[in-house]
Symmetry: C2
Subunit: 251 residues, 2 copies
DNA sequence: CCAACCTAACTGTGATCACAGATCACGACA
DNA sequence: TGTCGTGATCTGTGATCACAGTTAGGTTGG
């Protein structure tokens, strides 16, 4: 089992019942945490995928993942089934489920789709972002800068901050369905985009990401949709170019 | 059980083995049909959703669907799990799985996403469509016209031909991942878009769809990407307007 | 006549078992 | 030494069972 899957922390399922001494106590307690085990496993695997903690071609076993997570095989089946429906995992006909290995053509198509969809999201975000939205993006940008320019670079921190920065931006667009679409794209791109980070984070040194983020923030502050799209497109394109040159893409 | 789910036709799983008397007989037989029951059920439910045969708010029961399809509950669970991951179905916390009921805001966001994504697909298709691609779209257009102008109108046929026409167009773009994205959008929009068709197909009478399709074909033939996008956007917008006016969208 | 309770039926979730098929390592044969 | 068969082992798939929670309908008490 090479998959770095961690067992759940298993909090005591939240103390949802602590009654407020305010009259409308029953209105306060809103829909206590109702998450099935299957959803939890799905979230766990999704996080691993976007963070590049699962390498392209890496094989997973339902039983092993189940054992690693301390659950039965059933919730893992559900999670894998969902992710396979999104092409974030693939189940080979006879045997095993693995992280898809993208061909160069597939990676380029994925990048084009990201340019279209995330570019649109950036435009929309630039138009509608509130000061609070901009503040959130700014704080993630600071975290990214800090992680990227540390010595040695904090790859995991940079990947996480980059993800938070982008999705804080997209959430400013106020379109939940759009975010779902982008999450699916990241699920496919994550393994190939971030796999190299964990070993050799030299890509961060170039600073092209930090530059693009800075331009993005300027565009947000001036509500310049076209500039926001351009900055984001550069960010995506720079990363894609790096992967095409150094990454391991199949024929 | 109100869901019009039909049992599988269950063909004898194809005679994949008939050996060719040509030397390279083993090269001929390529990857026999490998489809799990879960995938089959998924496809069945997807078809019902995009065709509007399942109404928004309609409740499904795993056991009943399983019984109607002549399979165990297990493949249905997998199918519902996948569709729920795409928000094409929703599982209510305590009870039952149902077809989502879109709010007006959700429907409008969905329409905007369709304009962005399918508009891009139309542009790309106009640039890359081969004569064969155009011929395919043309034949589906003919089928749509015939179904729509029949008396009484053949609603089911029109819905199917419209779907085939659009996806023939999108396939001309040559981007599989893009098609998946669009399929997911149609999965969400299908129930609300096509639900009224089955009872009162008067929307077809307006002829706005046929007009948009004609303009789309002209744009394809002249490889005019901008015109193709414009025609498709009109098609989508016209249908959306009709739904907003007559459809049953929740608050 | 209405409201509250209560019971029986049904829901999705999760676990466990059975099974066909694929993989891989080992060993026999050429 | 190289190649092919073969069996042990592991894979996902599907079926069946158990269970907690919810719903709906009938019944009782006011």
């Amino acid at each position: 089992m090479t998959a770095p899957v961690q067992p759940f922390s298993m909090p005591p399922e939240a103390a949802a019942g602590t009654p407020d001494h305010d009259g409308s106590a029953l209105d306060r307690i809103g829909a206590i945490q109702r998450e099935t085990l299957g959803e939890r496993v799905t979230g766990e695997l999704r996080a691993l995928l976007v963070a590049g903690r699962l390498a392209p071609g890496e094989k997973l076993s339902l039983r092993r993942v189940a054992e690693a997570l301390g659950v039965s095989m059933m919730p893992v089946r559900e999670a894998v089934s969902r992710l396979a429906a999104d092409r974030a995992l693939e189940v080979l006909p006879g045997r095993a489920v693995r992280v898809p290995v993208l061909t160069l053509a597939q990676f380029r198509e994925l990048t084009r789709l990201r340019l279209v969809v995330e570019g649109f999201a950036a435009e929309e975000a630039a138009r509608k972002a509130t000061p609070q939205d901009i503040a959130r993006v700014t704080s993630y940008d600071a975290a990214f800068r800090k992680a990227a320019s540390a010595d040695p670079p904090d790859s995991a921190g940079a990947v996480a901050a980059n993800r938070d920065l982008h999705f804080a931006l997209y959430e400013a667009a106020g379109m939940p369905g759009l975010i779902e679409m982008i999450e699916r794209l990241w699920l496919k791109a994550g393994p190939i985009l971030n796999i190299d980070m964990r070993d050799e984070p030299r890509r961060l040194k170039g600073g092209s990401a930090m530059q693009a983020h800075a331009r993005l923030l300027d565009a947000l502050r001036s509500q310049d949709a076209a500039a926001a799209r351009a900055a984001l497109e550069d960010d995506i394109a720079a990363a894609a170019t790096h992967i095409e040159e150094t990454g391991q893409l199949s024929a």
